[in-house]
């Protein structure tokens, strides 16, 4: 699995992560080797699916309660510090979670959210 590294290193790192099927979500990642990047490295306007949240339980729970959890579809609305992320659903690629959900995330947190870009 991932090594927990320095956040600034993790920031722009591209790593290879092996995904178990249980990690949720459909798409190319199941059971195969997928390329993930940190959320902070996703370009503006690009979409992806969250594959791992490498944060402490409480931060991870909070992000999950805001919609940013493993399997959720995301779109980077604005890059920067902090960045703005549009969060979709976990059940479908088309992710209709029933509304508009935009969250502002500090780089320190975004760097620990690993995303598989579409």
């Amino acid at each position: 699995m991932l090594h927990r590294g320095d956040r600034s290193i993790l920031d722009n790192m591209v790593s290879i992560v092996e995904h178990q099927g249980a990690m949720g979500g459909s798409g190319a990642g199941v059971g195969t080797v997928a390329q993930v990047v940190s959320l902070a490295a996703v370009a503006a306007g690009k979409t992806g699916v969250v594959r791992a949240v490498e944060l402490g339980a409480d931060d991870a729970k909070l992000l999950c309660a805001m919609g940013l959890c493993v399997g959720a579809k995301i779109k980077m609305v604005r890059r920067g510090e902090p960045c703005v992320v549009a969060v979709g659903g976990v059940n479908h690629q088309r992710c209709k979670c029933g509304g508009r959900c935009r969250i502002g995330v500090a780089r320190a947190l975004a760097a620990c959210v690993l995303v598989e870009p579409d």
Partner: protein
Amino acid sequence: MHSGEDESTARPPVCATAPQSEDRAGGAAPEKKPDVRVIALLGNPNTGKTTLFNRISGLRHKTSNFPGTTLEARVARVRAGVEGGRDADLIDMPGLYSIELDQLESRVCREVLGGQAAPGGGRARSPECAVVVVDATNLARNLMLVGEVLRRRLPTVVVLNMSDLAEKRGVRVNSLLLGEALGCEVVRAVARSGEGIDEVRHAIRRARIPTPNPPIPGSSEELRHWAEDMFERVVPGASGGVGGGVAGEAGALHPPDNLEDTHSDWADRVLLHPVAGAICFALVMTGLFYAIFSLAQFPMAAIEWLFARGTTLIEAMLPAGALRELLAEGVIGGVGSTLVFLPQICLLFFLISLLEDSGYLARGAFLMDRLLRPFGLPGQAFVPLLSSHACALPGIMATRGIPDLKERLATILVAPFMTCSARLPVYVLLTSLLFVGRPALAALAFVGCYALGIVAGVFSALIARRTILRGVSRPMAMELPSYKWPSLRSAFITTIDRAWTFIRKAGTNILMICIALWWLGAYPHSGAPQLSTDLVAAAARVENGESSVFVSSAENNHAYRIVHDEVDAPDADQPGIAISPDGARELAAQAESKHHAQQSFLGRIGRALQPAFAPLGFDRQLTIGVLASFAAREVFVSTMSVVITGAEDTESEGVMDQLASATRDDGRTPVFTRPVCWSLLVFFVLAMQCLPTLAVTARESGHVKWAILQLVWMSALAYISAAFVFHVLS
């Protein structure tokens, strides 16, 4: 910290007896009757929960804190249901995303739901009903919180708020189906317009322990899936095969793809842009600041005028004596000095409420986060710190918008460093003494004072966050809600609520402080000094026919010659300054108030404490001025002019010259030398010289120790800096 997972297991139904803990706060008497029910109102932030609470409660609610915390709880006594419904305490819980987090809000919420805590020292009891407000435009995510509440097996009602907005966006929620699946009643409502409020009341009365189907899973990720399954089940078209965002008849049934750009996203392109967004934010904040800095002056002047009239009225009605002085000057003056803060507080909270409701305040916090984060402060600290430039009181009250406790305490601690409007008259006095006839330099010194305050504030915050308020700075993760028109009604209710809370909680303390300081300055009454009796007697003699009377004073080495007409006074070579009898009486009155100011308790304390202020270059008269300014900083100016000249108004002719040429008790050394002026200026920028602020700090931080820390910290910094400046310059 203990996370309270054990409480998340199923609870048996609780009836309205058997309180589990007695008055924790201990302060308030247990006024609640045993048959009063408790209803907990909770929901995600930005769901319109507060608007719903305001709708249900109107103005009939109390604001207090959850025991042992600074977390605010609003409680309204409501009649649940129309016919024969029992009274109930509706508790407005803080907005949160999850009740299972290890955060203060979540913990308090768990305790209230578990019947272990009640706000304001009331008796804790298990709520008979939990009302969860969900935002229909963001249903899937909101359902996660619903799931967490349903797990607790309390009678539950789900309020589907903003259903009109959701339908406009193509999300038509089948509330009956949702109710069946959740196993509890689901009420569609529009809190902004008041639609469905009665149905909410009915539903609360009928609330039953929920039986959700499918059952609610344990982990938060499974809960997310459960919430989205539920969403697809109850929103027609949500799981259909048609692509999102299709226009037309069929498309109206299908919710738009969440990731597509919305109007709010277009607005955010501008409003969150590093340059354009910063300019917009600066404009909005300028407007906010203008309102509390300038617009508030009119009602403040009206309040001051009204209480001045009150003083005159009482003086006319009552016979002279201690009672009249106490009522006219102490009480009326004190109430006036307390209420004069209200216009700024009301305006600030009205505007903040509008900004928050519109969704813009979250953007402001977002933009400012980057700027303030290096100092250990969150983006939400910006508005409180900016407001503190008008007055620290509303600024400190506005820190309630900061979610993290330690960050909030740090902001409260440093807010009074910001140059408030009460410091301005002091800056004007000192800079005009320093730079006579050079307004450009005076203006520069002014800017320097503002900058010094800000720098001292943010670095103090940094030090506090690295030492006593050390803690993981919770990196920002905040929701950016869609923009919408704010509700004026809700803003009004919030404003009145804030104003009333201020009067009840801080106002009484501030009133006490004002009366105490007035008493110290007014008593004991000392007899008229020799000079003024001599002058009055001489004036009478001249009016009775004597051509001129000579009066000399040992006190200030002046000699006066009272004559009928000072212009064509004969023998101009005679000693003494020629004045008319009227002038002599005026002079006598000034000498008397000057003498009185020096002989009062405050004057005596000033004399006793002067050695402590000597390293700063302050003489006895300045020390009295500095002590008097604890009531409000601007009092320094009028106190100095009374102590030095006896005249109360610095606007009147010659008073500035007299201040500039005033000497110490030895009669030779000037009071306001250059080093003393600079030292005073630095002292006034940094010192904690406002007892009302300390009262509000104690109230808002939940403990008097923070007020003491603030006083010690700021005063020590001011003392050392002023002594340093004085030493270097002299």
